[in-house]
Amino acid sequence: MTRAGGRAPRRIATAIAIAGLAVATAGRADPVDDRVARGRRLYDQGDFARARDELLAAYQLEPRPELLFALGQVELQLGRFAQAIEYYQRFIETNPAADQVALAQQAIGAARARLAEQRAAPPGRVPPAPPRPPPEPRWDAADTGLVALGGAIMLLGGGLVLDGHHRAGDHGGTLSQYNDRLSGAALAEWGGAGCLAAGAIVLGGGLLRWRLHLVDAEVQPLAAPRAAGVAWVQRW
């Protein structure tokens, strides 16, 4: 598996690359499209060797640049990292869009890392499975609820403090009225302070829960009938 992107911009870049491939093949019912569609199906089934054959055949029929990127992905899945790098570089040489270049360079980086690991491994040993991406914090409904509740309590507390402040600042009336008002103001301010503290605790708890609630990153290969590629999808 290859991680082609770990953040939303990367997903977007991947999507653009795929969309470019899709647009390039849209509206054509020719042998090239047929082979690309077959290659994608084989890729989905995990038969990467035959998927490569189909894509190579398609490329020979018509050397579309995006097929070079797809071939790089397939070679990567096959553990042929040097070949994958070569495809990616050839893809870059076709002067694709900047975001696609960035995607290809990321893929080259990943392939090179894998290649280095492969070369460092003792001969005859099966290369280890690629490391799983680090677990990522997951934001869920409970976090949203906690933060919203904490924020609401803090807003209430702030309102009480402001109300108390306003009441304490009102010097009108007689001294006894001022005393009464000040007692109410003190109550409101201390209550508000308590609410602020409680709200901060709840809100902080929500944020802490989010930071500590780690889940595995999920990598999904993407393959559409008229496109090929991979993307890493993070749960949010």
Partner: protein
């Protein structure tokens, strides 16, 4: 990062909000606002106080009075003008510290004329001009008003055409200039207290005296006016000059002067009876009413003894001075006798310890026992002033003979020994030549430092409104200025003295 920002924001809110709780500050506009505690009062600093007898001023700041909360109210001030009497007590700072070392009442009760005289003696930086409001009247009571000023180089006079009483009031709080005031009729059936820049309506009546005194110990500019109401009853009006409010109480109020009878931190007064020739005067104790306001409480009547001077006002004035240097104010009444009440720790005694009578003046028992005639023993009226000296006190006493057959008018200086109290030396002032006739009698005597040498000098005004001066201990009177009076025969001269630093 976001959590940290939220925590910071919450902390800021807490600080702001709780800060308001920790520093409550209430400002009143009227005493009706101060409805917490007994007899709430809105002070001049717009803080509320309530009655608390544990405080010298009987007032304690209410809660929520900022930094003053729960402290005793104290209206003491650093006087901007130490040359003017009638101000609140002074803080023990600078010149006032030296004055109050000699006369604690200047920092405990009020800044009286005795304090001004002590300041002129004790403080090298206090050099004052002298301003005298003169209210002269003939035997029928027709008044003539003059303003007389010594600026250190020359005398200046200004007549006032109004009919009433002219007096110098203390400077407004924070100001250095005394205020010349007129109290009298503004229209038939109405009266006013007129100051530069405006006038206040006061109860209708015939006004006799006006003076500043911190009667309520509230630090507000307060004038006390002595008057007789339209029914002829003697009354005393206490007027707040800042808001024009006034209240009145029944009290003898002519020749009203303010000092300290009982050391209770509230100024007390002395006044003569309104009845001409009664020979009585009264000690007016500033007391607390049931509603905790201040009023004239115990009134002790004291007699001038047997002295009756036919046809002359029996009591010509009062003075306050520490005669025996025991740091307590003593009171002197000038009339058909000169009565000296020596202040005690428990208060001023009702009866005088020393009575001075006769011509030349002497301790009454001595001259009576000396075989003096009726005319020399009793048929005299005295005006005078106490003169504070570096080492003692002298009384300057003017005689006012009732009849032409009696001794001619004179002015004497009597040195007073403090222990035991006695007249140790009597000297006569020399008048300038008055031609063939005797000089007119002196009706008013004032002691102030005119030349800035920190010795009290003598200012004397005779019955033709000729003003004399005698500097320091000199016994030669010098004509200073004559007020061009239109009254044919002046019978009484009332003076109100103040000054400002020069």
């Amino acid at each position: 990062m976001r959590a940290r920002a939220l925590a910071g924001c919450a902390a800021a809110w807490l600080a702001v909000g709780l800060g308001a709780c920790l520093d409550p500050d209430y400002h009143c506009t009227t005493s009706r606002d101060c409805d917490v505690g007994e007899a709430g009062r809105c002070e001049v600093d717009q803080r509320c106080t309530a009655y608390d007898p544990a405080c010298a001023s009987h007032r304690r700041y209410s809660d929520h009075s900022g930094p003053a909360s729960s402290t005793c109210f104290d209206d003491a001030v650093a006087p901007v003008n130490p040359c003017a009497a009638g101000q609140p007590p002074a803080r023990r700072e600078g010149c006032a510290a030296a004055v109050c070392k000699a006369l604690p009442s200047c920092c405990d009760t009020g800044w009286s004329e005795a304090c001004v005289q002590q300041a002129q003696l004790s403080c090298s930086d206090v050099v004052c001009d002298t301003r005298i409001a003169v209210t002269a009247s003939d035997s029928k009571g027709n008044p003539e008003l003059w303003s007389l000023t010594w600026d250190g180089a020359r005398w200046m006079t200004a007549p006032d055409p109004r009919k009433g009483v002219l007096a110098w009031l203390a400077p407004a709080p924070g100001d250095g200039q005394p205020r010349l005031a007129f109290a009298g009729a503004s229209s038939p059936g109405a009266a006013e207290l007129a100051l530069a820049g405006g006038s206040l309506s006061v109860p209708a009546g015939t006004y006799l005296e006006a003076a500043s005194v911190d009667f309520d110990r509230d630090g507000r500019p307060t004038a006390v006016l002595g008057y007789s109401d339209p029914s002829g009853n003697p009354r005393l009006a206490i007027v707040k000059l800042d808001d024009g409010s006034a209240r009145s109480t029944g009290a003898f109020a002519a020749r009203l002067t303010w000092g300290d009878l009982d050391h209770d931190a509230f100024p007390d007064g002395m006044a003569s009876s309104l009845s001409p020739g009664s020979g009585n005067y009264r000690l007016l104790s500033n007391a607390e009413a049931a509603d905790r306001t201040r009023t004239i409480g115990a009134v002790v009547e004291t007699s001038m003894g047997s002295g009756l001077t036919t046809g002359s006002p029996a009591v010509r004035g009062f003075g306050w001075v520490d005669v025996n240097r025991d740091h307590l104010l003593d009171a002197i009444a000038y009339g058909s006798e000169v009565n000296l009440h020596v202040g005690q720790r428990l208060g001023l005694p009702d009866t005088p310890q020393i009575r001075i009578d006769c011509d030349p003046p002497a301790v009454s028992s001595t001259c009576n026992g000396g075989g003096g005639t009726a005319s020399t023993q009793a048929a005299q009226s005295f005006a005078g002033a106490a003169v504070l000296e570096a080492t003692g006190v002298a009384l300057v006493i003017a005689t006012f003979p009732a009849g032409a057959s009696m001794e001619p008018p004179s002015l004497h200086r009597a040195e007073i020994a403090s222990s035991p109290l006695a007249v140790t030396q009597l000297s006569a002032y020399a008048f300038p030549s008055c031609g063939a006739a005797p000089c007119p009698p002196i009706l008013a005597v004032i002691a102030r430092d005119l030349d800035g040498d920190h010795q009290l000098d003598i200012i004397a005004i005779d019955s033709e409104l000729q003003v004399y001066t005698a500097l320091g201990g000199q016994l030669q009177l010098t004509r200073a200025i004559k007020l061009p009076t239109a009254l044919p025969a002046i019978f009484e001269v009332r003076t109100s003295v103040t000054g400002a630093p020069r």
